[in-house]
Amino acid sequence: MPIDNVFEIKNLSTSFFTRDGEVQAVRDVSFSLRRGETLGIVGESGSGKSVTFLSALGLLAASGKVKGGQALFNGRDLLASSAKELRKVRGKDIAMVFQDPMSSLNPLKTIGKQVAEALEVHTGLGRAEIRRRAIRMLEAVRIPEAAKRYDSFPHEFSGGMRQRVVIAMALICGPSLVIADEPTTALDVTIQDQILRLLRELKRESDSSIVFISHDLAVIASMCERVVVMYGGMIMEEALIGELFESPAHPYTMGLLRSIPVIDQDKGALLEPIPGSPPDMLAPPPGCPFVARCVHARAVCAVSPPPYREVSKTRRSRCWLWADDAPVEGNVFKERSAAYARA
């Protein structure tokens, strides 16, 4: 079983040390990714989604420190690797697609050079071959007249085209794991759709595993097989995408689902925003991070952190209501399963 996991995060904790104090951005996060799988990570901004992966790849800003845990890639712990070993993995075996195509490209370097760069670093190929491959990659992400555009600068491209370049840059070495960090957030809706379609096509053509980070559950649903829900630096729930929409196993997920529109929704039904605001990560609440906004909160939730427990074979949830000694009466999850059991 472990060999099947291409990537696994175990008990990762990361903090940023600012002049105001320690910001606990990621707290005890664990999940795994199987070969060829597409995993979605969903959560609002500041929930620790990106930081989890930046930690694993050693790309944190200077103030960020990994406090503990493991990031296993093909069984090897990236956090225990030297900077040099990590560099050999980055860009070659694990690639990242970043959010903002405007700022992710160096404005003073040509598109072609930037796409080809990873090849120069990780392979011993000759110049002509590198150029040929880079052009082929640009064609693969549907850049028209790729050979001609090779020597263009980023400012000569539109936002959607730049995001294609960013994707090309990530895929050029044929990585076995691609981490796409909000790749469509900064784009117009129509362009978003084009990019998502492109990503799905590329995924079909390769056997890479993909982590798709987004705050948009609808985008995740269209891309991923499995999803991890993060809130306040912790994982709240992990499930197959269908299960998650069918029967969310965490109050936060329930809130999340209620706040997005659905096509066949009853016209009279209201979208409900989740009340309140995310916790202050400088001084996170001692219990569940979601307690202040949770309609199902119990006294225990404010005091001690909920256990992360398996709810079924494919899913886990971090909620006190799943605890063995949690009362069934008034318990949204246990009442539901009790009803299933009766039926």
């Binding site: 202040a292 949770c294 909160a297 119990r298 006294a299 404010a302 008034g330």
Partner: protein, 387 residues
């Protein structure tokens, strides 16, 4: 929370126990002061500036000297003296640079010149008459240098004393350096504050009009600023000073007529950015007059950068004033500014370095202080600009 209840009691949203407000609330001014005072350099700068103002305003009343009073008997006296004991009288003699003797009291006060008697060329002695006792400068020994010898030809005992009459010594005309330094501080600070203030007003008006009106007016006005700042502003100040002739007023006029361009740029940039914002549109929709929009909505909102730029104008003005004085375009004698004092001392730097170091240190200290205050204010007023 209720400690007696079960852990499974329901919590209500908005329960006080759930949410705490992380930081205490402060007013804007308190916030600015809090951030400013947390920087030791900024606070230190502010303390030094206050001390400097007191030094300039009150100082001349306590030194017992005036800035113009000359005492040709006591020229070029340093703050630290070599005192030669005259017998057991408890009195000392100090040898000036032009080989005269001055009587010193035991605590280092300059009393009176000791009258010259005659020069003994054969024994290489310059003989002075101290109340009947001959005291001589012995210049016979080249290697040992000049020494004072008593009537019997023995070398007098010597010790180092602080100059009590003139704490920082005197200049080449026998004027008290400390008093002149204080008057210099008055001139330099007055010039700096007035020039900064005038530049502030012109800059706000010019930049405000340019930024608010925008379009072609803005284009023309900013092109004028561009042309002006093509050549160093110091050059204009020099030209204007040449026309107006040196003097206190001229330097203020000269400084005020060019340095507003930087302020105008800052104000314009800020206004340009602000005027598109919703609150200005809102003000316009309800019919607020343009003047009121600029005065009540735009200027107050870009006060931070304006204050910082104005603070930074003060050291610039001090620097340019001393620069002008240094190349002979400053205030006219006997008035003193730090720049003219440096200039006066340059020639004799080798023999009387104290005359140069006192005003130079004063200039540096002031520049430091204002720069630190400016940096502190920048951080305090605009946390976004923090690095």
């Amino acid at each position: 929370m209720d400690t007696n209840g079960s852990p499974w009691d329901r919590l209500e949203i908005g329960d006080d126990s759930m949410e705490t407000i992380a930081s205490e609330q402060r007013s804007f001014a308190q916030d600015v002061w809090y951030r400013f005072s947390r920087r030791p350099s900024a606070l230190g700068g502010a303390v030094v500036v206050v001390a400097l103002v007191l030094f300039a305003v009150l100082g001349p009343f306590v030194t017992g000297h005036t800035y113009f009073e000359q005492n040709l008997a006591f020229v070029n006296i340093p703050p630290r003296l070599t005192a030669w004991a005259i017998g057991d009288s408890g009195r000392y003699a100090y040898m000036t640079q032009n080989l005269k003797l001055v009587e010193l009291s035991g605590e280092g006060r300059l009393l009176a010149p000791i009258p010259f008697a005659r020069e003994d060329l054969s024994r290489k002695l310059i003989i002075f008459d101290y109340a009947g006792t001959p005291v001589s400068i012995d210049y016979s020994d080249r290697t040992a240098g000049l020494r004072l010898v008593g009537p019997d030809g023995s070398i007098l005992r010597s010790r180092r004393l602080w100059n009590r009459s003139y704490l920082l010594g005197t200049d080449s005309l026998g004027r008290d350096l400390l008093t002149r330094l204080m008057y210099g501080a008055r001139i330099s600070l007055t010039v700096a504050f007035i020039a900064a203030f005038i530049n502030l007003i012109i800059g706000i008006l010019y930049g405000g009009v340019s930024g608010y009106l925008g379009g072609n007016v803005d284009n023309v006005m900013m092109r004028v600023v561009d042309v002006i700042s093509t050549i160093p502003l110091t050059l204009y100040v020099i030209l204007i000073m040449v026309i107006l002739d040196s003097g206190f007023l001229s330097i203020i006029v000269a400084l005020s007529s060019v340095y507003w361009v930087s302020m105008a740029r800052v104000v314009r940039g800020q206004i340009m950015a602000l005027k598109e914002q919703e609150f200005v549109l809102a003000a316009r929709t309800i019919g607020t007059s343009p003047l009121a929009i600029v005065a009540r909505h735009l200027i107050p909102n870009c006060l931070g950068p304006i204050i910082v730029t104005a603070t930074m104008l003060i050291p610039t003005a001090i620097f340019v004033e001393s620069f002008m004085s240094f190349i002979g375009l400053g205030v006219s004698a006997p008035m003193a500014s730090w720049g003219t004092m440096c200039n006066d001392a340059l020639e004799t730097m080798k023999s009387t370095p104290h005359q140069l170091f006192a005003p130079a240190t004063a200039i540096c200290l002031t520049m430091f202080s204002f720069n630190f205050i400016g940096d502190g204010l920048r951080d305090a007023l605009d946390p976004k600009m923090r690095k």
